[in-house]
Symmetry: C2
């Protein structure tokens, strides 16, 4: 169950990051680990869920207590990405959606 | 870019479904294709993004025009899942979060 983020009582915020990786690591694994470690130290961090398929298409959803926490993270993440993006290009394309989680539940029932 | 869902102007809704698959297909591929086809025919369907990693942890985010579209989809999806869940158990665990997308953008800049 370690892949799952906690289920705090809504409302809270979600950042849905979908991205197509380019081939080759080019520092990606290092950056990714660093981003995760940084996120965990941010105020208002609630958790993160991530999956990438065999074709390099990935979805990462990070959860944040409030808008301020999310904007702080954006500034930190953007700074770190910007530092690296010049030398290493990981994504051929990405989309980011910022959303407010209104309700949440889990299953299957009885487990 | 076929993995990406469109980027309509917010607000709209997102259903973030994270799930750990159990081993074995047991009708999953068939159900999954059927669910996707059904979703696409629902009023208010805006798109879907999905990724599953080598350990069976997957994230699917579906996007809906409004709350009514989302609730209709929930009823259809739940009905289909319930029909099948008795005989085939695909997930050891899942979490569902319903969120309202407030803003969205894409990158990298210049592409």
């Amino acid at each position: 169950m370690s892949h799952f983020a906690p289920l705090p009582v809504p409302p809270y915020h979600a950042v849905i990051f979908t991205a197509q990786r380019r081939e080759g690591d080019r520092g990606y694994a290092e950056m990714s680990a660093e981003m995760s470690a940084l996120a965990e130290r941010q105020p208002g961090y609630l958790g993160m869920e991530s999956s990438r398929d065999g074709e390099g298409f990935g979805i990462t959803v990070s959860y944040w207590a409030d808008e301020a926490a999310l904007l702080n993270w954006k500034a930190v993440a953007k700074h770190l990405m910007a530092q690296r993006l010049g030398r290493t290009r990981w994504y051929s394309h990405y989309r980011i959606r910022v959303a407010r989680v209104e309700r949440a539940y889990e299953g299957p029932e009885g487990r």
